[in-house]
Amino acid sequence: MATTDYALRPVPQVLAHEVHKPRETRKWIDWVTTTDHKKIGIMYLVLTFVFFMLGGVEALLMRSQLAVPNNTLITGEHYNELLTLHGTTMIFLFVVPVMAGFGNYFVPLMIGARDMAFPRLNALSFWLLLTGGIVFYATLFWHPPEAGWWSYPPLSSIQYSPSGGQDAWIFLIHLTGISSLLGAINFYVTIVNMRAPGMSWGRIPLFIWTILIYAVLLIIALPVVAAAVTMLLTDRHFGTHWFDPTDHGSPVLWENLFWFFGHPEVYIMILPGFGIISEVIPVFSRKPVFGYKAIAAATIVIAFLATLVWAHHLFTAPLPIVVLGFFMLSSFLIGIPTGVKIFNWIATMWRGSLMMTTSMYWAIGFIAIFIIGGITGIFLAVFPVDWQLNDTYFVVAHFHYVLMGGAVFTVMAGIYYWYPKMTGRLLNERLGKISFWVTFIGFNATFFVQHALGLSGMPRRIYTYQPGLGWSTYNLISSIGSYILGFGILLSVANFATAYKRGKIAGPDPWKANTLEWFTTSPPPQNNFDTIPRVRSVEPMRDIRREIEIQTGVRQKTGGAEQFAPDREQLVRT
């Protein structure tokens, strides 16, 4: 029996090895033809980071244009193209798929499976994503779309956006949509069917919970946007009038359909980040997560409410007051489980023994930023207040606090946490912390003043403004901040690139972590595990370490955690 097998060994020996040597062939063919979830996961992460860089450059161009009033660096046409590219890239080509990247790599490892349920479908998901990105970015050579990432008709109709860029945008939504939908089905089936023996629903890691709910939300939301963009396509080219007000159509129909997808999408982007934080915080607090059930339940409640809050994007649209009231209340409600999660993370750290690793820095930075984003969300949910704030820079600030905090900071926490597992090497902690502080300062300099910009009356998506409106100082601070922010991110990217060859060897479990991915070598072999242990709690690796310590009477030394451990003296060097 596997369960007794490992317990008799003197140290937590890694129960995995290469099943067969990779064929002697050109390496890139291995990558292109792979169905291994780990290779696909890495391809996802690398590709989405490329799009993240592109989206970042677009953002910096926009901030450069807005740094001073009456700037003529970028025309109105190009500015609208940039804002459409930036929003669409960050949402459809970065945040959603980067979470799929983590999911691909770690769902099978964390639940003790040898691959995803449908490995070839998994590869298809990746290649569809790449195709979507190519289709979209090919428009750079013709006419990029310029109707914004939510493409409200009539502006996105053939009459006002005659270029093919809008059609490329529709194509991108379809391609990335199918990619995500296939991925979501794959995650769902994998998590439901392929868990290690003993891993009941009350014992699956919280990251897995969030990926499961991410998959469910994608399955609910994506068909709606697929239908909506198809209707837009037929409006544009085949003579239908779904959204054409001159012929019994309604632009408000699009607003409702789009945001019925769009708001669950926000939680699709953010929930896996919550999951990463729920893994990182307990490991580096050396404490079990506070209120496992509450965090898992909050995830489910958020997903349910996420489908009931879409019209808070439409508070200024022609809707009756009773609808506005309902969506204010539902938006308030979704604040409660989100708040519960924040309280639980802080309570997890409370009376713990915090290892201030770089991953922990990003995780704590995320909480600090997300609190601000969550609080400004309550302002926006109060619909009379939203009448002043909607479509201003206050909203831009809010969703960057939520999404950049909730996605970029959590992704960084995740990479600093899992990079040793994926590559076998540790990242440079010092460079990582510098990168964190530069990013954190840059982020707040960029976005905190944008609240004030919105309150002073600056609408979003304007490509220039007049002096004397009280906006110039804030805009200049924001633009300088954006360059600091970009520099901070670059430092981390440089860290990822250099550590790949030069980082210290990590060993199987550098952080003394809790979950099963640390039970195998770093990087894991193709089949992940030869033997899968029986799971008896949410923290199987902890159980394994404890059992060996009890049996051998020797405190377990792990791959790299000594450099952060306070109880250095207690470690027995073997």
């Binding site: 704590i364 609080i375 009379p384 009448w387 002073s456 009356g457």
Partner: protein, 308 residues
């Protein structure tokens, strides 16, 4: 940009020690929070033009105060935990799995804050959406008989139709402006709206092409101008002599940034004079155009259908 460069240089210098960089973060954060307080509208939205804007402002302030308490409490707890429970100071982690009464407590606490906010919002709501009566010294207006348009209890108001189009706002003054303003010869203007003080102004908002959003921050919240729909809002300015700036808030195309709006407030007497003058000007210009057209038709360079 030598200033920006020196900031970056000092950042890089500070970056040699992460902890010093943290201090820079705190100082910069402090600057961000406290220095621009002197600048207007750092913490609160614009107001002061109209009662609805003022009431949104006071509702916003209530939310802001509650938010400030939550912000200080939660960020404070986080900061305290990070400082107090570092491994160096707190080497042994206490193995706590949860605390059900505490968890239920903070869930109820969060819900209670939101219940208070809901009550406050619905108490303030009528003062934001219901148009008040015009003052006694307002201009003489016709009684409004519309069923859909929000009107003050006395019915005395001035209706102005706002029409958004790429990339300018058009205003037509007077009742019936959304029906046949051209044949009734109602006065109209573009970009700059002229309104009488002390009078409740009902706006009837439409769009003739894409979605726009009417927004003059000091005069209340924004209302989308959606083609195929008519939306409404109102404002009432107590003082003449003011000029309010606003602009389209919904992306409407390449020159969205230049779709601005100005609201010029004059006394009722000045308004009456302005309306008469504007109507005369429009009539005169229409007459000139008619003459010119007739002359062109007589020349044979224009048909009576208007084709060159």
């Amino acid at each position: 940009m030598p200033a920006a460069l020196s900031v970056v240089r000092s950042l890089i210098r500070a970056a040699r020690r992460p902890r010093r960089l943290a201090a820079v973060a705190v100082v910069l954060g402090g600057c961000l929070v406290f220095a621009p307080v002197a600048l207007a509208n750092f913490f609160t939205p614009k107001s002061g033009g109209s009662p609805n804007a003022d009431n949104i402002h006071s509702l916003y302030q209530i939310v802001l105060y509650m938010a400030a308490v939550v912000f200080v409490g939660v960020e404070g707890a986080l900061l305290y935990a990070v400082i107090k429970f570092r491994a160096k100071k707190h080497p042994v982690a206490e193995q706590i799995h949860g605390n059900t009464p505490l968890e239920i407590g903070w869930t109820i606490g969060a819900a209670a804050i939101l219940v208070v906010l809901t009550v406050v919002t619905f108490v303030k709501l009528p003062s934001i959406i219901d148009a008040p009566n015009s003052n006694a010294n307002a201009i003489d207006t016709v009684l409004s008989a519309s069923l859909t348009q929000p009107t003050p209890p006395s019915g005395k108001e001035l209706t102005i139709c706002v029409q958004g189009r790429q990339f300018i706002w058009r205003y037509v003054y007077g009742a019936g402006c959304n029906k046949n303003y051209f044949f009734t010869r109602l006065p109209y203007s573009f970009q700059e709206m002229v309104v009488p003080s002390n009078t409740t102004i009902d706006l009837l908002i439409q769009s003739s092409d894409v979605i726009h959003s009417w927004w003059v921050p000091s005069l209340g919240g924004k209302v989308d101008a959606v083609p195929g729909y008519t939306t409404y809002t109102w404002f009432k300015v107590p003082h003449a002599g003011e000029l309010y700036h606003g602009q389209c808030a919904q992306l409407c195309g390449r020159q969205h940034a230049f779709m601005t709006a100005l609201v010029k407030v004059v006394t009722p007497a000045q308004y009456a004079a302005w309306v008469t003058r504007q109507a005369t000007l429009i009539r005169d210009q229409n007459a000139q155009v008619t003459e010119l057209r007739q002359a062109l038709i007589n020349q044979g360079s224009l048909t009576s259908n208007g084709i060159f």
